[in-house]
Amino acid sequence: MTKETQNLEKQYQRLTEIEAKFNKNEVGLNDILELVEESSTIEKEILSRINEIEKALMEKIDKEEKA
């Protein structure tokens, strides 16, 4: 498995852990900001991935329409 995929899976697992912590009300006031920052960092990467896919899809549709 590539490092990129492993990293993505780790990020997913980390998000699941954070989600579980919130679900169990295990998050202290001091931790909230830290966890939100952590998930926000992951969010940037994920949104970047989604944007890239959307962009490529749009380009594909444009090409197909022009063709």
Binding site: M1, T2, K3, E4, T5, L8, E9, Q11, Y12, L15, T16, I18, E19, F22, N23, N25, V27, L29, I32, L35, V36, S39, S40, I42, E43, I46, L47, R49, I50, E52, I53, K55, A56, L57, E59, K60
Partner: protein, 460 residues
């Protein structure tokens, strides 16, 4: 009867063989063989094939040419295609009804008159079952299936025939992922049909596995085709490579109804290449959306938690404020009470002290007045005494002074002179003893009425 020394013409021999062969096969017979090659129809519409037979290891045992004459070709080939879905092509094992003949000029002739497509299908099925049973026996058929499918995809190896029909559709979607740097696809080519399939695909798999790249998955795809086309991939060596691979294999080589050995051993089996790329696309997009949703949920929960904390803090703040206000009010009342109490007590004490001081002052004043009076009286008395005593002393001293004065008057030189005494003075000092004088000293002699100077001449 032939003997060892007999000599024959070639034609005699060939005619003899021909007779024997024709006697041996007076009518058509069914034979099984593998199509090694088949030519395109000749100008007259005849098909020429090469049939081979191999042992279990794939070694060629024998081979011979065969033909399908134009008059029979259409019906035979159509029958085969209808039943198997495939053209008659090299690599297929067939059962054909043949007329065997030997011609002294063209030698052995195998002329195909009919074909049994069920044999080909049955043979493929039997081979497939045999391979699967062998893989089961070796306890490896489940290995690749048991590998945990990758969470996502970043790099994938694709093994496919060059210019495969399904590869174009696959590539169109794969390029979207490739161009957006989400997932890179490396393409490895292999032969998927014919006798070279086994070796070619096996080598391609080995190339992928032995490369330094850690792929998330290896995809094995080919476009649409018949069951007989698919059968070329039903090879033990290919299946074994997949089973022993540490990388999950996704296979999309067949159709829903035609599952092969590779479908049996692959990590995931798909009907078509499009479904394979569809799955990859779906996993990537789903994961991204799943993670996006998770993050949104985390943000919502974080916001909710913060609001809860905020609410709790507000309550605590209000409680502290109320408690403080209550305590301050209590303290204020207490302080005011204490102040009033202290004030009253102080006032009372000050008053008492003032009275005491006044009383003390009066007492002190009275005592002081008395003392002063006593002292004044005493002083006056003492003053009187001192004055009286002073007067007495003065009187006494005056009497003494008068007496002394009289005495002094008595001893005045003029008074002494009056008594007949003279006074001799040397250098302003009275001379009382002659031993202090020397001859020549000048003396002043004071008489009652005058003073004279005399010179000492000598003494006794």
């Amino acid at each position: 009867m032939n003997t060892m020394n007999d000599v024959y013409k070639l034609s005699d021999i060939m005619e003899s063989i021909s007779r024997n062969v024709n006697d041996l096969f007076p009518f058509p017979i069914w034979i099984t063989a593998e199509v090694s090659s088949i030519s395109k129809p000749a100008a007259r519409g005849h098909y020429y094939l090469e049939l081979v037979e191999t042992d279990a290891s794939g070694n060629e045992i024998c081979k011979n040419k065969a033909s399908i004459w134009a008059s029979k070709a259409a019906s035979i080939l159509e029958k085969f295609k209808t039943n198997t879905g495939s053209e008659l092509k090299s690599g297929l094992k067939i059962q054909v009804k043949c007329r065997i003949s030997f011609h002294k000029q063209y030698q052995l002739s195998i002329s195909i008159e009919d074909i049994n497509p069920e044999f080909t299908l049955g043979g493929m099925e039997a081979k497939m079952k045999q391979i699967m049973a062998r893989l089961d026996k070796e306890n490896i058929s489940h290995l690749n299936k048991q590998i945990r499918a990758p969470f996502d995809f970043s790099r994938i190896a694709v093994i496919s025939p060059a210019e495969a029909a399904g590869l174009g559709d696959f590539k169109k979607d794969a390029e979207i992922l490739d161009q957006s740097n989400i997932c890179r696809f490396d393409y490895y080519q292999a032969i998927f049909q014919g006798k070279d399939t086994n070796n070619s695909v096996t080598q391609a798999i080995k190339s992928v596995i032995n490369s330094d790249i850690l792929y998330d998955a290896i995809i094995l795809i080919r476009g649409g085709g018949s069951k007989t086309d698919l059968h070329f991939l039903n090879e033990y060596d290919i299946a074994k490579e997949i089973c022993l691979s540490k990388i999950p294999f996704f296979v999309g080589v067949g159709h829903e109804r035609d599952k092969g050995v590779l479908d049996y051993v692959a990590n995931i089996s798909f009907d078509t290449p499009s479904k394979v790329i569809g799955h990859i696309f779906s996993v990537i997009v789903n994961n991204s959306n799943l993670m996006k949703n998770k993050i949104a949920l985390i943000n919502t929960m974080a916001s909710k938690s913060l609001n809860q904390y905020k609410s709790t803090i507000e309550k605590i703040k209000l409680n502290i404020f109320n408690q403080s206000r209550l305590k301050i009010t209590r303290s204020k009342n207490m302080v005011e009470n204490k102040y009033t109490s202290i004030k009253n007590k102080s006032r009372s004490q000050v008053q008492e002290f003032k009275t005491t001081v006044l009383n003390k002052n009066k007492t002190i004043k009275l005592r002081a007045t008395n003392k002063i009076e006593i002292i004044r009286t005493d002083t006056l008395t003492k003053k009187k005494t001192i004055l009286s005593k002073s007067i007495q002393v003065l009187e006494l001293k005056r009497s003494q002074v008068t007496a002394i004065n009289k005495l002094i008057q008595t001893y005045r030189p003029e008074n002494i002179s009056k008594l007949g005494f003279i006074i001799a003075m040397k250098d302003g000092k009275i001379v009382t003893e002659s031993s202090n004088l020397e001859a020549g000293d000048m003396l002043e002699i004071i008489f009652k009425d005058s003073r004279i100077k005399v010179k000492v001449i000598g003494g006794e």
